[in-house]
Subunit: 357 residues, 2 copies
């Protein structure tokens, strides 16, 4: 199918994984699981099996251009779309959709984050194919929902409408629930994890932008003449900073009337927290995880230790901690307090003027 396109969003700063993830090389560019490929490379290679390289676009911050070209040498240089500044996912997607429209006005597009983990690739690709089939025939915005395997409080949920089959109308998107609510969600069978992977046709998403984010849609429309020309970057650099900082979820998906979900199960994790990496990792008899490095544990349990391959950690008397060391920085933090890591990184940025970012 020549009109299948893919947009991989790779502009995140990954500060929740500091110090392993750094400003100059965030999470998506790291060989996070020690497999020999970065998360971005794994994401690209996955889509590459069903989509030709020239139809795959990466959107990222301009500072990561060289990293992307280095990690994806096969990718045409013009398929790297560079944001001059961070503005969340709605402007990022608006840019990519306008650019693809210039190439193929009726393209069907899958949009995916670059830093998620997918364990069952065959199931994933089948799901994407089903999604393409659906959006190519319907004026619909489709999101992939994941059957919950545990009452996770770190994810947003999607409530589905009643009916049969795997394709359902979305009833509501929900915020991250508390533990009790997450359990109710899971037991009900009506709620799926929101994966943040979307499919739609160019006409369908264009109409949604024009209706729900008209100001933004208008900004990008002004560039119709320049997309794909040498003037594109200057145009983007000018209008991008003027866009509202807003997510596609909040700006479009939660408000559009034609949003559907495809119920999926392909071993997905957003790898959004140290906790999720801990959950996914093999554990010793005291449920300690050591990622990449050597580690010896004494009177310790439920910890995750991540250091580089050549290092040894000796840990005594810790329970439920993250120990992460990379380059010039070490973090020790209770797993249950990891939502504060982002703030700590802010503190560090201010105090040390970016030296340890």
């Amino acid at each position: 199918m020549k009109d299948k396109f893919c947009v991989i969003m790779a502009g995140g700063a990954g500060s929740r994984f500091w110090p392993f993830s750094r400003n100059e090389r965030p999470k998506q560019f790291l060989d996070f699981l020690g497999t020999g490929s970065s998360l971005l490379q794994m994401t690209y290679n996955r889509f590459r099996k069903i989509i030709p390289a020239e139809n795959i676009y990466i959107v990222s911050n301009r500072i990561y251009r060289d990293l992307i070209m280095e990690q994806l040498p096969e990718l045409p240089e013009g398929n790297v779309l560079l944001e001059p500044t961070r503005r969340n996912t709605a402007p990022c997607i608006a840019y990519a959709m306008n650019r693809i429209a210039k190439v193929s006005e009726n393209a069907n597009v899958v949009v995916a984050p670059s830093d998620h983990l997918i364990l069952k690739e065959d199931e994933f690709l089948d799901t994407i194919q089903q999604g393409f089939d659906f959006v190519s025939e319907n004026d619909a915005l489709l999101t992939l929902g994941i059957k919950p395997s545990r009452p996770e409080t770190g994810y947003g949920y999607i409530q589905i409408s009643e009916g049969d089959g795997l394709l359902r109308k979305v009833r509501t998107f929900t915020e991250k629930p508390n533990q009790e609510m997450a359990k109710i969600f899971m037991d009900s069978g009506e709620f799926l994890w929101n994966s943040g992977i979307f499919l739609w046709s160019i006409p369908a998403i264009r109409k949604s932008f024009e209706t729900l984010l008209p100001e933004m849609a208008n900004k990008f429309k002004q560039g119709t003449e320049v997309y794909g020309t040498p003037r594109e970057q200057a145009f983007i650099d000018e209008i991008y900073p003027l866009c509202h900082n807003i997510s596609i979820d909040y700006g479009i998906m939660e408000k559009a009337p034609n949003v559907y979900v495809l119920c999926s199960d392909f071993g997905w994790s957003d790898l959004g927290t140290w906790g999720s990496l801990y959950d996914l990792s093999p554990k010793d008899e005291n449920r300690n995880v050591s990622n990449r490095c050597q580690a010896m544990f004494y009177d310790s349990k439920d910890n995750i230790v991540v250091m580089s391959e050549d290092k040894l950690a000796v840990v005594q008397g810790l329970e439920g901690y993250i120990v992460a060391e990379s380059g010039n920085a070490l973090l020790i933090c209770k797993k249950e307090e990891e939502q504060h890591i982002r703030q700590m990184v802010n503190d560090i940025t201010v105090k040390y003027d970016g030296k340890y970012n």
Copy 2:
């Protein structure tokens, strides 16, 4: 005084300070306090003020020869005495005494560890001078006792005899006391910390060895002809491994009838534990210590963090821990469990075949 000599014992493995202290560069060779000098250099420079370089001897393991020559370039090469293997302090001292006897039969000698901290140098040198005066005129073994400033359970104590003045006969040496006993010791005014710094004349210590460790004395006596000649090292390499592994305290000081103590107060610490380094170090408002590195603490107190100068540690939710990182290893251990570090280092040695020692 030409007959004043000094022996600095620098053969320790320093494994209690792993990973900061490593097999190939133990504690005494490290700039432990970030002053720009190693503990050995500080010790040498202190004695150098009252003793000429040619009268200062360093006894250490053969593997540290180059380190010593590098750190003490002024020292005559022949003044580095090399043990082929570790045999505790009695053989080390027997060797040094025999060697010095060859140069000066009636020398007065101070013997000191290389890795102690002394804050009040003037008081220390005055004390050493008083000690030399005493041992040059008396057939006595003198040890320096330190007026306790706290009920420390990490040190051995010396009970002094009744009397006036700072020079007293030793009544008993004691093992490390428990907390309650340490408090009684301190309150009594009769107990001093055992510093492990000794003074004596060659004739006095020779007599003690001949009486209390005759087998060892005899071994070293056989080399009288070779000390100071090119055959010395081969002789030492042959007899040293045959010596009993025994400390000078246990072998001589606790048994000799003529042991005296000079009551001293020169800001001494044996720097024997992370806890002692913690106690000595400046602290923030939550009693956290960061040594060399940068550190940021959240919900944390009573910790000591030691990493290299260019590093940052971010510590959340820790209380009373040691965090020490150097080279290819990181240690996290409760301060109160640090007596087990030595065992952990043994475990590491076995498991990783010395890779992290």
